[in-house]
């Protein structure tokens, strides 16, 4: 799996944020305070979506291949939350289709 190539075992991570920390991925810095507020708000949602994918993966409710695609996209969203806001909305919509 892609995250294994990056040296991180997805199933060993307690949270998406921990995964980001292990991979050394940080959100980009925004120019203004208001942009940063918007980004921080989106980042919280992105982390919640990431956590949900981790749970679904553990419970085998999502295929490993699909989880990989979604996590990789979320990593992009995490790094540039405002620029990729639309994609995180789409991922949220997709995850609502999976059982709790």
């Amino acid at each position: 799996m892609v995250w294994e190539k990056h040296g991180v075992d997805l199933l060993e991570c307690d949270s998406f944020q921990q995964l980001m920390a292990k991979k050394g991925i940080r959100p980009r810095a925004y120019r203004t305070h208001i942009e940063a507020m918007e980004a921080a708000d989106l980042l919280e949602t992105i982390c919640q979506l990431g956590d949900r994918i981790l749970v679904l993966t553990r419970h085998e409710q999502i295929t490993a291949k699909r989880a990989e695609v979604l996590i990789l996209d979320l990593i992009t969203c995490f790094a540039e939350p405002i620029e990729w806001a639309q994609r995180s909305t789409e991922i949220g919509r997709e995850l609502r289709e999976y059982k709790r």
Partner: protein, 285 residues
């Protein structure tokens, strides 16, 4: 020089009155202070400071024209800013120690749209602060900013060293302010533009005021809400431990002063605003 942003998530918190009074209190304590009206869509500081009858105000130019590039820095300082303690200033009757100053930079009453994302605006704001520091030897800049998180919020937030978030004891204010505190906590968590901030409660009902309530059931309910709200705020602040400078000042006396839109810090007794001004002089924890 320290730049303090006076902010409230909702309007009607007593923020502008507090900004004027705290600025005056800092001057009374001997500091050189500039107060800037950045509530550019609905300016009100002119009424608190009693400047609406002054010729400068009537001319109609303000910080907005400067930020847009219509007037230059010299014009702003000489034609828009008022030395409030000067002989023709609105507060001339008050004595302040030595070289203390309270310079008021007005906002224009004209409807003026400002694009806060425009680099010119940030650049001009930066130049204004530099001029206040270098040419007028200002110690404190008090920014009276607009409520809410809107376009012009960034003009104040990006220029500030510290933020005072005002709210009053109503469900809209408390919930909105807690939401804002959580936003700020996230900024710190995600390492983005975090600013130290303090929450300041205005217009909290005093025990005396609640005692005077004729309706027992309503009084009990108000007390219950007050205590619940206090608990909720304290719990939220505990959760926001990532923000070590988050301090909660409760100033219950402010209710009676809320609508008295005048400078009160020069009375015989020390006002709550002066107490707040003194707290601001203490280093951030």
């Amino acid at each position: 020089m320290k730049t303090l942003m006076f902010y409230s998530y909702k309007g009607g918190s007593g923020r502008t009155v507090a900004a004027a009074n705290v600025a005056a209190a800092l001057a009374k304590l001997g500091h050189r202070v500039a107060i800037v009206d950045l509530d550019v869509e609905a300016p009100g500081l002119q009424h608190v400071l009693g400047a609406e009858r002054m010729a400068q105000y009537k001319r109609g130019d303000g910080i907005q024209q400067y930020l847009k590039g219509d007037i230059d820095l010299d014009e702003l300082i000489t034609e828009v800013a008022i030395d409030t303690f000067a002989q023709d200033g609105p507060l001339f009757r008050f004595d302040v120690p030595g070289t203390a100053l309270l310079l008021y930079i007005m906002a224009s009453p004209k409807v003026t749209r400002i694009d806060a994302q425009e680099p010119l605006v940030a650049d001009r704001m930066k130049k204004l602060l530099e001029a206040l520091r270098d040419k007028r030897q200002i110690d404190f800049v008090v920014l009276d900013s607009a409520s809410g998180v809107r376009e012009t919020y960034s003009i104040s937030a990006d220029a500030s060293d510290e933020m005072l978030v005002f709210f009053r004891w109503s469900i809209q204010h408390v919930e909105g302010t807690l939401r804002f505190a959580r936003f700020m906590s996230r900024l710190k968590e995600f390492d983005q533009h975090w600013i130290p901030f303090k929450l300041v409660a205005c217009a909290s009902p005093s025990e005396r005021e609640l005692d005077g309530f004729p309706d027992d059931a309503l009084r009990e309910r108000l007390l219950e809400v007050k205590n619940d709200t206090r608990l909720k705020i304290l719990q939220t602040l505990k959760q926001c431990q990532a923000s070590p400078a988050t301090i909660f000042h409760e100033i219950p006396e402010l209710l009676e002063l809320k609508w008295r839109e005048t400078i009160i810090v020069f009375g015989d007794t020390i006002s709550p605003y002066e107490e707040l001004a003194k707290k601001l002089l203490q280093p951030v924890v």
